[in-house]
Amino acid sequence: MLDIHEKPEPTTHDDPITSDPREFASRVNSWMPHDLMLIDAWFPLAHSFAVGKKPVRRAVYSQPFFLWREANGNVIAAETHPNDMLAATKSEYTDADGRYPVIEKYGYVWGWLGNPDNAAPEHIPSLPYLPEDGGLPLHMLGTVRFDCCAPLSLENLIDLTHADFIHADVVGDEKMDKETVEVFHDSETITMVRTCVNKSVAPIMKVFGGVRDDVQQVRQVIRIYLRSHAAIAYGRFSPGDNVQLFHPCVPETRDRTRLDYAMNTSNVKKTNPFRYMMPKASYKVSRQDSSMTSPQSPRYMQPEKRKDLHSPLDEAGQKYRVLMLSLAERQANGDYAYRDNVSADCSEIIGYDGK
């Protein structure tokens, strides 16, 4: 799909985002998200509370994961259901017993898809506002699904101008005085920071959050861990409460996405209904997103001669495409190494101060 001109040096690596605008554009426009399959990654397969004695079934790129707990509470992630006597042959992703590497962290069961020898805890993304040993109340957790391929869901998320149109009734419309978008990346992550000056107040904050003003100052951060298809969505609102959402998009199949979200509203006063309503907004918001990403998805399955058109506000989405393609290209060439540490605390990058 993409040409590699030189073999990368073992120690220093070029920025996967080329500075040549024409080459950048041609990469952006070669985007076929249905063809991407990134491995050697931890996927947040289930909320910890959802895994008990009876195996539950999950999938990543149709590869089956059966999750259950042993008597001592340890989670097992297996390729076949223990009752399945006719199980097909074992994949290369599991050990001799058909087990995947598995870890519990941040209130999730993370399964490793890739070479089991490469599974390492330091490849679990840093999620600063989720308690490491989980334990968030159930009303902050939920599951929603997107009828589209996972990278489209994430591309949707990282361009927040969409929220002003399809989620206007929840988060407010596009009316504001000024909007700036900044984008940071390394080889494993992309982070978008959107700052809005005097933006229409989110209706959900007006109705449930007790915000009386008409406008608010907004700083929204989307940080995507590329391989894990997992995103942090962090919003600071003034006036208003901060929104601390973990938004993983697990590619169950190439055209369907599972989102086991955690919206940590423990920063919101117990007497404020926003604390209980905001996590529930996901049910509405995700259907609004799906209304666009679902018809989009088949339109990204086949090569397309006509290039997508872009605006300066699409910088993050375009870079997300290029970074994903470059990881895919490296993996196609047998390079599965992590060049950047995804578990290093990202509080500073996302502007999270623990409050």
């Binding site: 591309e155 361009d159 101008t161 969409h162 002003d164 149109f165 399809i166 596009e174 000024k178 909007e179 209304s291 666009m292 018809p295 989009q296 339109r299 990204y300 006509r306 997508d308 058109l309 872009h310 605006s311 300066p312 506000l313």
Partner: protein, 307 residues
């Protein structure tokens, strides 16, 4: 699908300035709406930004259409991008920033589209016939038209009329149209068609060779017009056919049977087709339809090549 062909993809009353309408020309989705002057506009139903259907968006007061995803806004006539609301301030966008426009022609209560924006408009139809409807049928376009030739009762009903298996005239080509005339009876008890000496009614079916847009004319045995209808089957996604139709009952109809036609709906276009009956329907009138279509196409083709 030939470029300069006009397809009746909607009835006038289906297209409004309030809500965009999604229609298909085969596998090509198209969005229709009315601009501030009431003119019907048609663009490919695909936003060139991130390929979302424009029909999920809204029509602005200016008559432009705004994509519901990130708000890109397009002019209906040219398809050109005129605004990205989040990019504050006036901007000019390069001409490649556009959605694909379609030629539109509205007349006789039908909205017709042509893939070629520069195609000469089709002839006007005159006044819109007052009765109208839309039926979506799970049958391919050519099969639909052929079934109309072979046994219209599978696709339509005319109040009080029974279509017989006999023809006054088999399918022929007349001025680029495929025409036949079917013998019909009143639906009241009568001697069965195979043993009838006379048929009191005739249904003329005249179909455009390419679009299958069909004029139906029901006459009594004194050549009085009873019913006139236009049926416009258009190929839609997944082999479905969407049929827009309009009809008028002649105001002067003599005889009890023809008067009864005015009670309720005189014409019904079926949404559901009896597959078992369709499967065993033997081709008869339609047998030569394809030969005739090819003959018509061959006659017009050399001119196209010269042009």
């Amino acid at each position: 699908m030939t470029e300069a062909v006009w397809w009746a993809v909607a009835r006038s009353e289906e297209v409004s300035a309030d809500k965009p309408l999604n229609v298909d020309l085969g596998d090509q989705p198209i969005v229709l709406w009315r601009d501030a002057n009431g003119v019907v506009r048609a663009l490919e139903d695909r936003c060139p930004h991130r390929r979302a259907p424009l029909s999920l968006g809204c029509i602005l007061g200016s008559g432009a259409i705004q994509c519901g995803y990130h708000g890109w806004t397009y002019d209906g006539e040219t398809g050109r991008l005129i605004n990205i609301p989040n990019l504050k301030g006036e901007r000019k966008y390069p001409p490649v920033y556009k959605a694909k426009p379609f030629g539109v022609h509205e007349s006789g209560g039908f909205v017709r589209l042509c893939a070629d924006v520069k195609a000469p408009p089709p002839a006007d139809d005159g006044d819109a016939l007052p009765l109208s409807g839309t039926a979506t049928v799970a049958l391919q376009h050519e099969q639909y038209v052929d079934a109309l030739f072979d046994d219209p009762s599978l696709l339509i009903s005319i109040k009080g009329v029974r279509f017989s298996p006999y023809l006054f005239a088999e399918l022929t080509e007349q001025e680029g149209q495929l025409m036949l005339e079917r013998s019909c009876q009143w639906a009241s008890p009568h001697w069965p068609a195979p043993f009838s000496s006379e048929f009191p009614l005739s249904l003329r079916i005249a179909s455009d060779a390419v679009t299958g847009e069909t004029d139906l004319t029901l006459l009594d045995d004194e050549f009085n017009l009873l019913l006139h209808a236009t049926l416009a089957p258009v190929p839609a996604a997944r082999g479905v056919t969407q049929v827009r139709w309009r009809a008028v009952l002649s105001p002067e109809r003599s005889g009890l049977q023809s008067k009864i036609m005015g009670v309720g709906t005189p014409l019904k276009v079926h949404e559901n087709i009896d597959g078992a009956a369709l499967r065993v329907l033997k081709p008869s009138a339609s047998i030569h339809a394809n030969d005739l279509r090819e003959k018509i196409a061959a006659r017009s083709a050399p001119q196209d090549e010269v042009a």
